[in-house]
Amino acid sequence: MDPVLERVIVEAAVKIALVFFVVLTTVAYMTWVERRVSAWIQDRRGPNRVGPFGLLQPLADGIKFLFKEEITPPHVYRPVYLLAPILILVPALLTISVVPFGPALRLFGRDVPLRVADVDNGVLIILAFASMGVYGIALAGWSSNNKYSLMGGLRSSAQLISYELAMGLAIVGILMSAGSLRLSDVVARQAEHGWNVLWQLPGFVVFLTAAFAETNRLPFDLPEAETELVAGYHTEYSGMRFSMFYMAEYANMVTASCLAATLYLGGYHVPGLQRLGLPQNAAAIVQLLAFGIKVAFFLFVYVWVRWTIPRFRYDQLMNLGWKVLLPVALVHIVWVAFIVLMGWA
């Protein structure tokens, strides 16, 4: 095989493995963070027995899930029932592939960009993969052959489709100012002209709200609202398959946080870093860390919101999506277009 091609493939494989490892670890530790933070908010202690500060808790949970009995209820529609968790998890993990984590790192005499794929319509690919996640949820709900599951699945699909629109329109503002769908261009532009959050605040708010709905998190977790739907679309799932739903939810949170950081908080950009004159690799690592901090901030917001804001009613959720967020996003597009046209941006 062509040695250049070989190197490219090896590089990509290593990056994919690394990203998977990081994302899955983050996902695992998010369950711990969630419980610790909720405990802190509610003035409790949370899991603190397994390892120092309970840090080994996710590991214990993972082992527990693996050894739990997997029950396939007799009334389910088997082929689809087994397929659904996979259909949810795969798109959730794929989305992360176009996110730029940092600038290029100089390794073995060549520049290694810190992202898996740098495609010229990264934003579209994220939206496309995100939209595929609906299938898993809708089918999980339907194949479980249980009214609560079906209701949950339907609610979730309706919610995802409605909020996808608002989210897409909010992102249009970013794309207009960057003049590109490539995420690294979005970052580069913010490094030059200042972070988008500074002048696209309405878009940012819409994006963040829609992101909560897209990840089925409180206050928009109606598909699995336990007070009315038992556990929604994953009522009939158990063991590892059940945990796949959880992993997908947290993976989606990670992606959404990465996206929010990239689109609105300048991605891996650190203001004033250039003036320090650090060597390339050191600067890259600082920027990588900065990106990590920004993502961590959003992840914290997710948890924080979950334990402070009560759940919406379903019609309120739909009203918010269609009658508030969508118009706001549209007006925001006009506003951004105006600014871009006048050359003020």
Binding site: V80, V119, D120, N121, L124, I125, L127, A128, F129, A130, S131, M132, V134, Y135, A138, L139, W142, L150, G153, L154, S157, A158, I161, E164, S180, L181
Partner: protein
């Protein structure tokens, strides 16, 4: 055969086979899922031809948007009992005619040859195919693009009128 040709034939046969399964499968849900598979493999073919934008839109709009709504309807309306024996007979009859037409079309294809357009790909690559699509959409195809907006508006109004409870 080059690697891309192999990938093309694999994707194309998946697309055609699952399209056939859309018609043949007994359960509407299966049909819907096969149709999604068709859409995804067509998107794969677009990627192969370096039309990433079209591929992403294909997934976003068809697989992610329209088919979800289809699935929605199928899940809500239980179609299981409507496929009676009479419909089966009808289906056999129409599939015979359909097969004949397909045969005819395949025969025509075997008689003719569609020329490739080698000039298209490099033009698209210049500045990314996004830019090429944007340019042609807002310059050459500006008028159809704008008419399409009226078309979509009509579709929206129409749905609302038909779905509204009472005038």
């Amino acid at each position: 055969m080059s690697a891309s040709a192999v990938i093309f034939y694999v994707l194309a046969s998946i697309a055609v086979l699952s399209a056939a399964m859309v018609i043949w499968s007994r359960y509407p849900v299966h049909s819907a899922l096969y149709l999604v598979t068709t859409f995804l493999s067509v998107a794969g073919i677009y990627v192969l031809f370096e039309a990433e934008f079209v591929a992403a839109v294909q997934v976003l709009v068809y697989a992610g948007g329209i088919m979800v709504l289809f699935l929605f309807v199928i899940l809500l309306v239980n179609l299981k009992d409507t496929l009676g024996p009479r419909v089966r007979l009808h289906a056999t009859f129409s599939s015979l005619i359909g097969t004949a037409v397909v045969g005819l079309i395949l025969y025509v294809y075997s008689q003719g040859r569609v020329p490739g357009s080698p000039g298209a790909a490099p033009m698209l690559r210049e500045g990314g195919n996004l830019q090429a699509i944007g340019t042609s959409l807002y310059r050459e195809y500006l008028l159809p693009f704008e008419i399409a907006s009226v078309l979509l508006l009509v579709a929206m109004i129409g749905t609302i009128i038909l779905a509204r409870q009472k005038t």
